[in-house]
Symmetry: C2
Subunit: 319 residues, 2 copies
């Protein structure tokens, strides 16, 4: 492959191959970006201006709602409409029990051999708050790689998962009938991030009750929002309701564009990403500047000679 | 009440009243600490050297496992043993559906009027990563206030909830029989943080199977850890197994002390707290230094003229 024009803006070979549709190059870029290395940042800097075209759709919901199956059914529907699909699956599974790699293979199943689908699983365990950053960067990579849709699948019960969902332009909250009272409470927290509700396993006896409950909660919430989240009943295993769900996804994206909300959301996303990156970079610089003194402060806090706020103040004054 | 000695180390009136056991002063300090204001930090600086005596126990687990009931039963058992108990309940409920305040009242129920118990709920929604910081600070306050035990209750499916559990010296993972396969996967992620497993609702048919499954997973994990997490079967609603669970809590704390691991954990906790506070303070200082230029960078990222990493680099060079 010919090299790009010489100079500051010269494309790296890996990015060229990614843009040419080479899947191995894509996987390699994702790995480097996830590692958060300087090389990963350089790759992102190249890819960032090329992103911004995909429709980014988040799927979130409690365990047991059948999210993965629904994401797979939505992917099939989108493929039937001639669209390409990149999927980021945030997987709470621990590495030692199989983890993300096995997850990829299981999920691929139906879509293996389809060049229009690319799936990446990321284990959420042990990332210590870095997951949200990594997910946002992976979305940028898949977006720049030219996928029409980027689907982000997360477990929705936790705070960080809700934050990941914020990377999306359209957030689909997946519910299933009869998951108990405490889950209802969590649902309340998800009401405000949902653009669309999917009541999956709609063949279960309490499905209508669940849909009705959601409608009532939405009415009570009474948010001054010009989009009323539709509630779509689906049976992902039989692909029922999936075409309707995709129609609502498309309708929501058109709404975002026409209302000007898409620009607002993109700005909020930019602010969030800058916030994350800036905080990380500032911390790394401080650590380099103060060197071993940092550990002395940790010791003094552990010995309760000093509180963390006074320690932070003293450390920052050093710089 | 007489004022403390004049000078830099003079105790604030609020802290004096808190240390004298006044519950209203405690609630007020917690509110100020949660707000993260300069006054909150000053209060924490006063309280920090007085903390470090409580046994901090985290309870985490999926929705529907009966965690709240179990925490209540453990509290009753500890009270029966003459111990005082502070509880921090991280509540995923949204404010508009009742939220943390209602949660407090419901949970108080059994323990209302008991001066040896203090319960504080914190809504996890909308805190944007600030929850972990706030929880750690609230633990410090309750610890300094002299409670023998500080129990921290979280929903265990999410990354941030797992991080909150790290504030604890002893982490109890609560399971319930028959919560489905996807929950099993999450369980794997929790294996590594569990010091004790409670299989609650042990009267359910699959209880023995769940306990056996856990034991097998622990054997497979085969971590080179000198503490083997015990698995305690409980029926919180009938208070069965609760005395045994408390015995295991006490045994784990003794193990931490004897093995020297308690000092290691306290150091890890100190490092984690300093990390959070330092990052926040650095970011706030940068925002003050760069002023409105920060928003210009957000706009350029949103317009995809600049990637977040290059923007962060440029912003930091300004300072």
């Amino acid at each position: 492959m010919a090299a790009g024009p010489v100079g500051q803006k010269r494309m790296s070979d890996l990015v060229e191959r990614l843009l040419a549709g080479e899947r191995r190059a894509l996987a390699r870029v994702l790995t480097r970006v996830e590692n958060g290395s300087a090389e990963g940042h350089a790759l992102l800097a190249e890819l960032f201006p090329r992103a911004g075209h995909a429709h980014i759709v988040g799927f979130t919901g409690s365990p047991g709602t059948g999210k993965s199956t629904l994401v797979s059914a939505v992917t099939r529907e989108l493929r039937g409409r001639g669209k390409t699909v990149g999927i980021i699956a945030v997987d709470p599974t621990s590495p030692f029990s199989g983890g993300a790699v096995l997850g990829d293979r299981v999920r691929m199943g139906e879509h293996s051999g389809d060049g229009g689908v690319f799936i990446r699983s990321m284990a959420s365990r042990g990332t210590l708050g870095g997951l949200a950053r990594t997910t946002g960067d992976a979305v940028t990579v898949l977006d720049a790689a030219g996928f029409d849709y980027v689907l982000v699948e997360t477990v929705g019960a936790g705070q960080s998962e809700v934050e990941i969902a914020k990377e999306a332009q359209t957030t689909i909250v997946v519910e299933a009938p009869g998951l108990g009272d405490e889950v209802q409470a969590i649902k309340a927290g998800l009401l405000e991030i949902a653009d669309i509700f999917a009541v999956n396993k709609a063949d279960a006896p309490q499905a209508n009750q669940t849909a009705l409950g959601l409608r009532m909660m939405l009415d009570i919430a009474n948010t001054p929002y010009i989009w009323t989240p539709p509630i779509v009943k689906t049976i992902a295993t039989r692909r029922q309701g999936v075409a309707e769900l995709v129609d609502e996804m498309v309708r929501h994206r058109a709404f975002l564009e026409e209302s000007g909300l898409l620009i607002e959301r993109e700005r909020a996303r930019a602010a969030e990403e800058l916030y994350r990156v800036v905080r990380r970079a500032l911390y790394q610089r401080l650590r380099e500047q103060v060197g071993e003194r940092y550990e002395d402060y940790v010791s003094r806090i552990a010995a309760r000679e000093l509180d963390p706020y006074s320690a932070a103040k003293a450390l920052i004054e050093h710089t």
